[in-house]
Structure formats: C-alpha cells, structure tokens
Subunit: 318 residues, 2 copies
C-alpha cells in the first residue's frame, strides 16, 4: 500500500467540498467552504488553500500529500482553467485555477477537470468501473453530464471539452428548449429537471388520475415517491425517461463500444423504475452485434463521498 | 528516411488490392487478386501470400518489409479475426485471418482492422489528418463507415468493433429500413445508396421537374451529374443529405470534440454541393462552445491508392 495521500476538491455553485483521501479511497477527513460568496477567484483560492492546509494538518498527512485533484463546472484538463461557468460568479471570465491553487499550495501539483469526468475517474479508481478500460459515465443530476473512458483514459478531445453527452439530440423535431440554447437535448428529458418537466407536461395534457395532481410544485423526487406507491402515471414517466436514455445509449455504443454504461446522480436512485426500460430501448436500437452485451451499472461510491473521491482520483495520475 | 517498407492489403467483396508502400506513402508496386472465387479462407490466404511475395520481389524490397496491414470488412484489430462479413463467402464464420496470413508469410507480423479504421490511419499517416491527434473519419460509400481517432489512436472499444457511426439514429420516427435490421440509420440517408433512395422517393412524391425523371434507374452519380447541370431537385437532394450529415456530426462532436471531420469515399466527390449544408447543420446543432470551430475536410489520398495506403499505415504501428 502506497503511504501517500491525495486531496480531492469538488467545486460546486454554492459550496466546495474538500477531502483528504488514501489509495484505497477512504476519505480520512473532509470539510466544506462557501463558493458563492466570492466575486473574484483570488480570495476564493486563498481561502481554499487555507482550508486544505488545515485539513492536511488535522488528518496527520503533512508532507505525504502527492497532489490535488479538482472537479469543477467547465474545468479544462489541458489548460487547468475554468471559463464561462454560469454558476460560478468568479469564473464567468477565464481563470487560471490550477496555476493559482498550486501557487497558493506552495507548488503542489493540481489536476482539474469537469465534475462528470472526475466522477468517471473516481468510479474507475475506487468504484463500479474498477478494472474496466472502456466505459461511459453518465451523471443524472439537475442536468446530464458524461465522462467517457477509452483504453483506460478519460477522453478530453481536441480542446479539453469532450464528453457533453447531455447535449446530443434525443428528440430532433419539436424538442424541449434547453439551457444551452438548442432544443431536444438529452438533458431536457433525462435529468431530474427533465423528469419533473415530463410530469408537468403530462399532467396538463391528460386527465389520468395521479397522486402528483395534488402537489403545487413537482420535483423528480415526488415522481419517484409516487412511483414507489405504484402511481401509474409516475411509472409511465420513468418508462419514458428510460426509453429516451436507452436509445441515446445505443448511439453512444456505436461510437466507443464500451463494456458498460455507469449511472450516477440523484435520478439514478430511481434505478428500480429505470433499468429495465433503459436496457430494452438500448438493445432495440443498437446494432445486433452489441445486443444484450453492454451492461448498465450504477455507481458504487457513497453519495456523500463521491464528488470528493472523483476529484481526488485525478490526483493519483499526476 | 527509414529504408524499410510495408505491405497494405485492402480486402473487398470482389477483389483484394495489394501494394508495397514506403514511409512517404508512395505505392511502389501494386496488384489485384480475386476475393470472390473462394469458399474457404485457406486457399484465399495461400494465393494472397503468393501475390504478396511476388510483389515484394518485383519491387526489390525483399528482406526490408516490416509488416503487413490489412483492411477488411468486420476486421477485428484485437483478435486479428474476420467474422460475419456478409460479402465475404469465406468469412461468414469467424476466421483467424491475421494468424493464417502471418504463417503463410513466414512469420511476418500482420495487423488487421476494418476498412474505415484503416482509412483513418492512412489519412493520419499520409493524408489530410497529418499532425491531428483527434479527428473522425467518415467514409461515404455504398454505406457509411467511420474511424475515430482520439489522442492519436484509433478507438477500437471493448470488443474491437467501435466506430459504427453509419448506424446511429439519423431519423428516429418512421426512418428508412437499414440492412442492419434497424430503421433510420445514418447510412440509409447519407451514403451513395441513400442519395439514390432520396432521389427515387422525392421523384415519386412530387411533380417537380428534373432531368432525373428521364432515367430508368438512378444512382448517386446521376444525382451528382444533374446537380452539376444546375438541376434544382438534385441540388435539394444534396442539401438534404448535407443537413442529415451535419446534424449527426454535431452529436459526434459532443462525444469526442475532434479537431476535424474527414470525409472520404464516392459520395465525398460531391463536396461542392455538400460542404456548406453540412457545416450549417453542424453549427446549428452543436453546443455554442464548438460553433464554427470544427473543420470539415476531405481526404487527400489519391483514390486509387487510398485503400492500400490506409491498410499499409497500420503496419507501421506493428
């Protein structure tokens, strides 16, 4: 067992989680700081570095930390920059995040990528994709993110931004408008937000009875609770969501022929209502040579640790 | 300059082309043998080996050939096998092609992949993709094939069959039936055959005047000739074909963020009528961050040499 450690940082819109992690994927210590109280990147990085140093001290790993891995929205692996991140006030313009943090940490190396790529590395290092060389990580949260692994390496592409599978065309004609400016994107249907949109749309368009009718606002969690009670409309919403996911997955398979597709995120908790429909649609829409051969698996990382673990896993590759 | 040579073999349904190639991509000598007169793989490989040996002798490269690269339908890079190839009578069952050929050639190493992957390696080694680390090769022939290059390496996936982009969903509802058993596949619209299908469909569904109406049978070449004469229907057929291609390319970009998409094959000759429509549809359907940034380029290999060069390029990696 290697006796060195890494630090994982998950930068989110409101808070950033920090953890010290060992080679087995145990989070020895963790803490949280605010992200949204800063307008400029420099004071944020200064506080981040202070929190990291404190955590290293507390966990007794001083002098044994090999590097820092960071998962952040629009994080670019090649350049170490964050840019055009709508939810980070201090990163509307391009910021040299890795460089600034490394400097503030006395030269400790820093690796940066987006959250979904970090999740893929985390799953490959500690989770459901251990031993896999070719898989696709799909994060089903507020949006749909993806991290693609080919030959044991995350695909970053020509510019560092590869793997935006939430924005492939799930519906070509008359599709839902997406935050990105396009229509019909996968994430407008198959994210937590997408499930809630489907529910609101279907409640308005039909008279079908459903426990969801009694609610003022509907979140994907409500649809999940309703499905657990056997609500037929809620079950049909997950069937539809699974079908949309499965037929997009069929196209992803034609691209990189993965061993598995790994699902993670809030919506993945509804696996009991999704898996069968995903698999059916995927196998109906894929070339015969792959029918029944690509596994749908779910993240094996503890949800509270997953973001930190994913980011930390990047640092082992430094 | 390296003074070694390689052999490239392009196995087609009717004939197989063989060439001896130098490191600059010059085909020093080439020949052709029949593929379709054999029911079993062994006698075919025996004749192939004889033809290769004769060619090596004629080109004065005896003792200087480093290896053999083979492009063949359903060729599997990992296993060196060909299987389920509908157009090769001797490869309906799985055949150990690389092993057999290497043995017949006295142990010379053999690398095998499918035609589109070979084309991608050829373009990267000698053609339009020289210096590129991330691009997607699309072959527009009777069908649509693809070879995906990420970080300078062809993507073979978990099983060796990655890169079947001719069979992603171009049209989800009421799409054309495809030879693969699915409907709406990209190649039913955007291949030479697809263009001819579009022409026949549109001629039947409208009364629009067109020089194509006077023909008994229509091939994509006829549509191209008509477009060159300014025939409006023919021009609209290429506009439609370009649009179908462009919007699928937008999804491919979301996957691997390539520097360029390289087009090759019979239909690519119609570039004057396709490029603008491909680029427009691609840029309309891609995330803003890639708008106007991904190049559409055309193969730079001489068409008569391209298949041999592609296959031969594989052998440099042996």
């Amino acid at each position: 067992m290697d006796s060195t450690f890494v630090v994982g940082i998950d930068v989110g819109g409101q808070t950033s989680k920090i953890g010290v992690v060992d080679a087995r994927g145990t989070v020895l210590a963790q803490t949280v700081i605010r992200t949204d109280t800063y307008d400029k990147v420099e004071p944020f990085v200064a506080e981040l570095a202070e929190a990291v140093n404190k955590l290293i001290k507390e966990s007794g790993t001083e002098g044994k930390v090999r590097g820092i891995g960071v998962g952040a929205p629009n994080g670019n692996y090649y350049t170490g920059t964050i840019e055009n991140a709508p939810n980070l006030k201090w990163a509307h313009e391009r910021v040299e995040f890795s460089k600034l943090l490394s400097k503030a940490m006395g030269g400790l190396p820093v690796a940066l990528t987006n959250d979904a790529n970090a999740a893929a590395v985390g799953e490959m290092t500690y989770g459901a994709a251990r031993g896999m060389k070719n898989f696709i990580m799909i994060t089903l949260g507020t949006g749909v993110g993806s991290g693609i692994v080919i030959n044991g390496e995350v695909v970053y592409g020509h510019d560092g931004f590869a793997g935006e599978l939430g924005h492939v065309a799930a519906v070509r004609n008359n599709g839902r408008t997406c935050g990105c400016g396009k229509t019909g994107c996968l994430e407008t249907y198959a994210s937590a937000t997408g499930v809630a949109r489907t529910a609101r749309e279907w409640l308005e368009l039909s008279d079908e009875p459903s426990v969801l009718r009694s609610l003022d606002t509907i979140a994907s969690k409500d649809v999940y609770e309703a499905a657990k009670e056997g609500d037929k409309l809620a079950l049909k919403i997950f069937e539809f969501t699974g079908k949309i996911l499965g037929r997009s997955f069929a196209d992803f398979i034609a691209f990189s022929s993965p061993e598995a597709i790994v699902l993670f995120g809030g919506l993945a908790r509804a696996k009991e209502f999704l898996t069968e429909h995903i698999e059916n649609a995927m196998n109906e829409n894929v070339l015969p040579l792959w029918r029944g051969k690509v596994k749908i698996v779910y993240s094996q990382l503890k949800e509270s640790d997953a973001a930190i673990l994913g980011a930390s896993a990047l640092a082992w590759e430094l």
